[in-house]
Every structure is written in C-alpha cells, then in structure tokens.
C-alpha cells in the first residue's frame, strides 16, 4: 500500500483498464471536437471521390468516342482482365470511394505523429503515463468514423450525380468486407506513421504514396490489366484486396482473387498479420528515434 502510494505520488503509476478506456475516449472526443471546428473539411472530403471518379469517366468517353462505346470497351477490357462489367461509372465511383477511406486512414493515422510534432505536443504525449497503444486506438477510432462517413456520403451523392444504383449488389456483404479490410489499413497506417516519423517533412511523400495507392489499388481498372510482376505486387497489397472485395460484391462480378471464400480467407489473414507487423514497425522506429535525437525534433 505504502509502495503504491509512493509510486503513484512520484507519477510512476500506470493507468488501469478504466483509465485506459478513458484515454481512448478522450483522444477520440478531442479529435472529433477539433474537426467539428472545420465542417468544410468533412464536406469537401466527401466530394473529392466524386471528382476523382469523374476524371476517368470523361477520359473514357473521350477515348471511346461515345458513352455507349465507352461502356462496351470497358466491358471488353475488364472481361479480358477477368471481371467484365459495363457499369463503368459505378465501378470507378466504388473504387474512388474506397480509395478515399484508405487515403484518409493514411493521412489521419500516418500523419498524426508529424502533426503532433509540428504543433509541439508530441513530447508532452510521450511524457504522459498513457500507453501509446491507447492513444493510437483513440486516433484510429476517430479515423474510422470520419473515413466511413466520407465513404457513405461520397457513394450516396456520387450515385445521384452519375445516375447509378449502388444498392443492386449485396450491401451487407460489401460492408462486412469493408469492415474486415480496416485492420489491415490500420497496420499499413502504422507502418506509414513509422516512415513519416523517420523522414519528417512528408507532405510530398504522402501525396506520392496516395497516387501509388490509387495506382496499385486498381481504382479505375482491374489490376489484372497490369504486367505480371506489377500485378502480383498489386494483388498482394491489402487495400487492393479490400477494394476488389467491396466492388465485386456490389457489382455482382467475379473477384480477381477467386471465389468468395478465398477472398474472405485472404482478408482474415491480412486483418490478422498486417496490424501486428505495422504496430511492431512503428514501435521499433519510435524506439530508435527516442534513442537518437528524440521525438520532438523536426
């Protein structure tokens, strides 16, 4: 009892379970409160996938010469790549909405460390007795709410703008695949966070990574259109798996990975392995930086 009192008195106590839940809740609430001051940001991020989908649609019509021909050519080319759909508007809208979820995850989790560094609050967070995992859980929960809201709004408005029906497929299964894909995204975000911590000024790198993501995820076309080596690499990338699972379910087309149970197994595997690897990479990098110059330097 005396030992505990002394330890707590000197600030050596670790928060219990209830306090840890409060840490998660406080971080989550703080993030929501900050973003609620910038409502325009939420509105804009819901419109970006629509613009992002509009680009290949107009480009496709320009290449094909007419809307009908664009649909026919898209069907022919995607069929050769193992899918086959003439619903090219919904195809790219789903791709770009899923891309927005991935992109927001990277920005909000991966760039979180950098943001705290820039605002000078990272060292204070490290000095607090809260565990980093709980702080990160708060950040990821907030990211989840924000990215899923953007996904839902973009899909709803985008469907109206492009005149497509996203509800023709199995919505529940698609939402399930989306949820199952999120842990892998968290893992990649932690990995990315470690990378950002290392290189520091990362704006251009994040933008580069976003375009690489859009490229590898097959936002506009099935990745089976890539040459063999690039195709293998893209298919091993968890966001590609998530994108394909959601899209093939909603469009009622075959997945490039095979039958649904293969997709499900791969998603479970990614949801299990990638977060562990990502968090491990994050802690290793964190330890190394703390040992070298300290986390506050930027």
């Amino acid at each position: 009892m005396a030992g505990e009192t002394v330890a707590r008195g000197f600030g050596l106590g670790r928060p219990g379970r209830r306090a840890s839940i409060e840490v998660v809740w406080t971080v989550f609430k703080a993030r929501l409160r900050i973003i609620s001051r910038y409502r325009g940001a939420i509105l804009l991020e819901s419109f970006i996938p629509i613009f992002f989908a509009g680009l290949p649609i107009f480009l496709g019509i320009a290449v094909a010469g007419s809307e009908e021909q664009a649909a026919q050519n898209f069907f022919d080319n995607t069929q050769l790549a193992g899918q086959g759909t003439n619903e090219y508007r919904l195809y790219v809208l789903l791709g770009s909405s899923t891309f927005m979820v991935v992109s927001l995850m990277l920005w909000l989790i991966g760039y979180w460390v950098r943001r705290e560094q820039e605002t000078g609050t990272l060292e204070s967070l490290y000095l607090s007795p809260a565990k980093r995992l709980h702080i990160l859980t708060g950040v990821t929960s907030y990211t989840l709410v924000r990215s899923l809201s953007a996904f839902g709004i973009a899909l709803a408005i985008g469907s109206l703008v492009f005149g497509v029906n996203p509800l023709s497929g199995n919505i529940l299964a698609a939402l399930g695949f989306l949820a199952l894909g999120l842990p892998a995204l968290w893992g990649i975000s932690f990995l990315f966070g470690a990378f950002v911590m290392r290189i520091k000024e990362a704006n251009a790198v994040i933008q580069l990574v976003q375009w690489i993501l859009a490229f590898l995820m097959g936002v506009y076309f099935p990745v089976t259109m890539f040459p063999p080596v690039l195709r293998g690499f893209a298919m091993a990338f968890p966001p590609t798996l998530m994108n394909d699972a959601v899209r093939s379910t909603l469009l009622n087309i075959s997945s490039i990975y095979g039958p649904w149970y293969v997709v499900l197994a791969l998603m479970f595997m990614a949801a299990w392995i990638v977060p562990l690897l990502g968090y491990e990479a994050f802690t290793v990098m964190e330890r190394r930086i703390k040992r070298d110059q300290g986390v506050g330097q930027f």
């Binding site: 900050i34 973003i35 001051r37 910038y38 409502r39 325009g40 940001a41 804009l44 991020e45 419109f47 970006i48 613009f51 992002f52 509009g54 680009l55 290949p56 107009f58 480009l59 496709g60 019509i61 320009a62 290449v63 094909a64 021909q69 664009a70 050519n73 898209f74 022919d76 080319n77 995607t78 050769l80 090219y88 943001r115 820039e118 605002t119 000078g120 290189i199 520091k200 000024e201 990362a202 704006n203 251009a204 790198v205 933008q207 580069l208 375009w211 690489i212 859009a214 490229f215 936002v219 506009y220 076309f221 259109m225 890539f226």
Partner: protein, 264 residues
Amino acid sequence: MSKKVLVEYSRYPLNFLAIFGQVFIIILLFVMSTFAFSAPGGGSGSDVSAFAGMMTYGFVTSMFMSFTLWEVGFSIRQEQVRGTLESLYLSPTNQFSNLLSRIFAVLAWTALVCVGGIALVSGLVGGLPATNVLRGLGILVLSVSGFLGMGFLFAGVTIKLKESAQLLVSGLQFFFFIFSAQFFPFSVLPAPILDYVSRWLPVSYAVDLFRTTLVGRPPELLPNDVVLEYVIVALFGVLSPVLGYLGYKTIERRARRAGTLGEY
C-alpha cells in the same frame, strides 16, 4: 526569402524526389485508364498521338496550377501550424516578397518534372505533336502568372479556412481537372457543364489555348474567335496576380485586425 525556402527544401530532399515520382505515377494511372476504355484493337497512330498530346499538355498546366496552389497557398498554412507566421509578419520583410519567394524553387522543379513527364508519354505513344512551341511557351508563361494570382488568393483563404484549406486545395485541383478539362478534350463535357461552368473559368481558356497551340489544332472553346481567346488568357495572366494579391491583403488585414493571423 527565396534562400530561406531553398534551405528549407534542401533539408528534405526526399520531398523533391517524391514530387518527381508523383508525376510519373499520375501519368501511368491515366494512361492505364485510357487502355481500359480504348477499343481492344487500338486506334490509328496519329489519333493516339493527338489524344496523348491533348492529355499531356493539359496535364502540364494542371501540374503548374497544383504546385502553385500548394506551394504559395498551403505554405502559409504550414507557417501557421509551426507558429512562425506571426514572427514573419513582425519582421521588416516585404509581404509580397514573402509570398513570391515561395514559388521560384517549385516552378523550376515543376518545369523539370513536366519535361520528364512529356518525355515519358512521348516514349509510351511513340512521339507527341509539338507545333508552335515558342507560342505555346508564351501562353504557358501567361497561364502560370494567372495561376500565381490564384495562389495568392488561396493563401488568403488559407488564413481564413485554416484546417479545411488542405482539402480545399485537393478539391480545387479536381474541380479544375474536370471543369477545365485538363485531361481530356472539352468536347466530352456535357453541354450544360461546358456552357455554364467551363466557359466561365479563365483557366479553361489557358488550358485550351496552350494544348491546341502545341497540338496544332484550332481552340475548342472559341474556334471562331481565336483572338478573343488570346485576349482572355493575356488578361488572366496580367490581372489575376494583381487581383489575387489584393484579395490576399484584404483577408490578411482582417485577420490581423481580429488577431487571428497566427491562430490555427
């Protein structure tokens, strides 16, 4: 001031490499997208080359616009976040040079990146049309001057919008990608969008004139009145920086009066 920006950039060389890489990835993404929509047999060589020219030269204007918006506009936001904006305003430096200093390095780098991008597409499609190169460069200079004005105004908007500014840049980029038809010909846009949005944007005329001059075709927006299209682009190049800077000063003065300049 430019030296300070250059020193800052030199500390993060990976950023420069990332910008270079980004351009190639964007080009590859859109080239692959055109494959998804092209007839399995493919079109004739000259058609492919002209279409690639329209897309690539439009892309060049989009690159200059994006980098101007990001570097001029968004760097103000960075100063806000780092807490150095108020110090900069308290120093005896000229406010205009503060804004202008942010562009030299990035313009030079964007020009290099664009040359690389043009070379890549040219290699992929077996050569791009390049007629009236000098006139095209003149139009590009006027367009970049016009984009700078937009960048100045956006810097002011950033002071006001704060966190939302980042998404606004991305939103604006995509807005102009589509409504100024930077990646495809204007003929693809539905008539109401073309008449009620695209034709009201000076950026559309800059994009149209630059790429049709290089491809050697009449402009799409005003094919029967090319002179007027030149006049619009020239006015955009001359007036936009002046109006943009005035807009920036107005917002900045208000922020200083309200004491919110350094707030983020």
